[in-house]
């Protein structure tokens, strides 16, 4: 068991210590040209780092995820967002692997973001927070690993925006990544996906309580706008077939339509619930910044337009997973990445899992996904003796 550094401060929620946070002693240089002097990175770990420090698995979270990948969420009290994937005996087996998951830069669960206090002004950053990118998130994670004394990770894994970070990791730090599992993602955000994000951002900014991003100073919260943003986004995480199967045209607690604008249909009630509960755990400005980071993601653009260049000479082993009914990050986008990797003679496997549950499938109980990840990780671990 390896010795880990002492942490500067624990993250607290309701007075209890929840997870860790580290204040980086170096500035984080951002793609936009600005720097964050001493950013805080909040993170969770599961399992034990072995003496050779060779069993680390980095999990990257999605847009509205956080570091609570396999433990109870301090705000909602719900199980970790990937509870079935990460844990003792699970596909990412914490009896065997040391799992790290950190809240992204720009996030709102303890890592430096727009809701945090700007040390220079003593006020929350709000819109004065610099625009961050997926690459900035990955740089921050790399600095966290430096601080933890972890040189190489056995695997970087994540879905959706987490998958984007996985690809960025493999492109930016190939020598630090033994294997990479990007799930349900793409090498660039499509026009359609940018469009949905813009709808969400406009909903937030149209809420009078947003107050140009300074709502914290006014003691308000653009909850209505953020809820609408979440509702619109949530539709894109599902599929037409799954919506039909789960809700159809079923009415919500009533025998007939009301000839009004209440939530007559179950799907309306479901979306309203999703919007309302989201507001309790997420910061509106954070939502603006993180969606923007996804929009700006274009791995090929960094390489003069040729995606294969991003992975040239890579020794990393890749496993790419897509889902048949995912229309946000369809199989074609995932396969595009796989083909680019093939073109560079990288070691890549690709699996398309049949499901009608849409993009959200990566968060749900998909036995084939678990089997694939379990088999892949075990083979990677045994090939390097971890």
């Amino acid at each position: 068991m390896a010795e880990l550094p002492k942490f500067i401060r624990p993250v607290t929620a309701a007075g209890a210590e929840i997870g860790h946070a580290i204040v980086l002693d170096k500035p984080l240089e951002l793609d936009c040209g600005q720097t964050l002097a001493q950013p805080t990175i909040a993170y969770m770990t599961y399992g034990t780092l072995n003496a050779a420090r060779s069993n680390a698995v980095l999990v990257c979270h999605a847009l509205t995820g956080d570091q609570f990948v396999a433990s109870e969420h301090p705000v909602t009290g719900k199980p970790g967002w990937w509870d079935e994937m990460v844990g003792p005996g699970k596909p990412i087996d914490t009896d065997r692997f040391f799992v790290i998951c950190s809240n992204v830069v720009g996030g709102c669960m303890g890592t430096t973001g727009p809701a945090e206090m700007n040390p220079e002004t003593g006020k929350p950053y709000g819109l004065t927070f610099p625009v961050v990118t997926i690459r900035d998130m990955v740089r921050a994670q790399a600095m966290l690993l430096d601080a933890l004394g972890i040189d190489k990770v056995l695997c970087v894994i994540g879905g959706s925006m987490g998958g984007m970070q996985v690809l960025q990791w493999a492109a930016s730090f190939p020598e630090r990544v033994i294997s990479a599992v990007p799930i349900a993602c793409a090498a660039r955000h499509s026009a359609q996906n940018i469009a949905f994000h813009e709808v969400g951002r406009q909903a937030i900014m149209a809420d009078p309580d947003w107050k140009n991003g300074t709502y914290q100073l006014h003691g308000t919260q653009p909850g209505k706008g953020l809820a609408v943003a979440r509702m619109a986004a949530h539709i894109t995480y599902l599929s037409e077939a799954a919506l039909q199967r789960k809700f159809g045209r079923n009415l919500q607690n009533r025998e007939q339509i009301s000839f009004g604008f209440g939530a007559d249909f179950q799907i309306e009630s479901y979306l309203r619930h999703q919007g309302m509960t989201f507001v309790d755990r997420f910061d509106a400005n954070s939502y603006l910044y993180i969606t923007r980071a996804m929009d700006y993601f274009d791995l090929a653009a960094e390489q003069g337009g040729t995606l294969a260049e991003a992975f040239k000479g890579s020794k990393t082993r890749f496993l790419i997973i897509s889902f048949t009914s995912d229309w946000l990050f369809p199989t074609s986008e995932n396969k595009h990445v796989a083909h680019a990797l093939n073109a560079t003679a990288a070691t890549v496997s690709f699996v398309e899992i049949a499901t009608d549950r849409g993009h959200d499938a990566f968060l749900l109980d998909e036995p084939e996904m678990y089997d694939t990840v379990r088999g892949f990780l075990a083979s990677v671990a045994s090939s390097v003796g971890a």
Partner: protein, 201 residues
């Protein structure tokens, strides 16, 4: 677990340390054998997801996909050897698939069931129904084998694609192999299948 005899015959054609693409690699038995016994750098393509999972768990690099639509994405001469074993008869466009295999691999190994085998011929002649053999035992209406051919048919296609046959093996029903002349009439009646080592001219 010992390798199926026809796969062992294919493996024998592959040099040490070769870069190999196995199209329709199934559960990865051949690729794993090549990795262990020939230190080959192998890649696979397989249509069935559970089989891809089996490959991934074996530590192999396999893409879920099919020959008809995915070979176009592979760069030319990216592999020393491209392999298509007992699959060409199930492709939608065998001519195009063969063209891609010859383009992607410096050499190409193809094995196929022989529809010119005497049992097939007799079955159609006397039974009057679409032939079924141990190697081809699906009903005509649900067979995945939509482009069956004889050894002579394949040799003609290989020529039309500008391929040189470097080696030809006749395959009997137990999977045993023996060398044959690709253009001889005998194997086209007596062989259950054939394995060809091809190179683009």
């Amino acid at each position: 677990m010992s390798l199926r005899p026809d796969l062992a015959a294919i493996a024998a054609m592959i040099p040490q340390g070769a870069r190999v693409l196995d199209v329709g690699c199934g559960d990865g038995a051949l690729l794993e054998h090549l990795k262990k016994s020939k230190q080959a750098d192998g890649r696979g393509i397989e249509l069935i997801q559970q089989k891809v999972n089996a490959c991934v768990a074996r530590g192999l690099a396999v893409m879920q996909g099919d020959a008809d639509s995915d070979l176009v994405e592979y760069p030319s001469a990216a592999f020393d050897i491209s392999i298509l074993s007992l699959t060409i008869q199930a492709t939608r466009n065998p001519r195009e698939v063969l063209g891609h295999l010859l383009r992607i691999g410096r050499r190409t190994i193809i094995s196929l069931p022989n529809f010119g085998h005497w049992r097939v011929r007799l079955s159609l002649l006397f039974g009057g129904r679409m032939p079924k053999t141990p190697a081809l035992d699906d009903e005509w209406y649900d067979t995945p084998n939509i482009h069956l051919c004889t050894i002579a048919d394949f040799v003609a296609l290989a020529k039309a694609n500008g391929a040189v046959i470097e080696q030809a093996l006749a395959l009997n029903e137990r999977g045993r192999t023996r060398p044959m002349r690709a253009d001889a009439w005998g194997p086209n009646i007596l062989a259950e299948g054939a394995i060809f080592l091809l190179r683009k001219t």
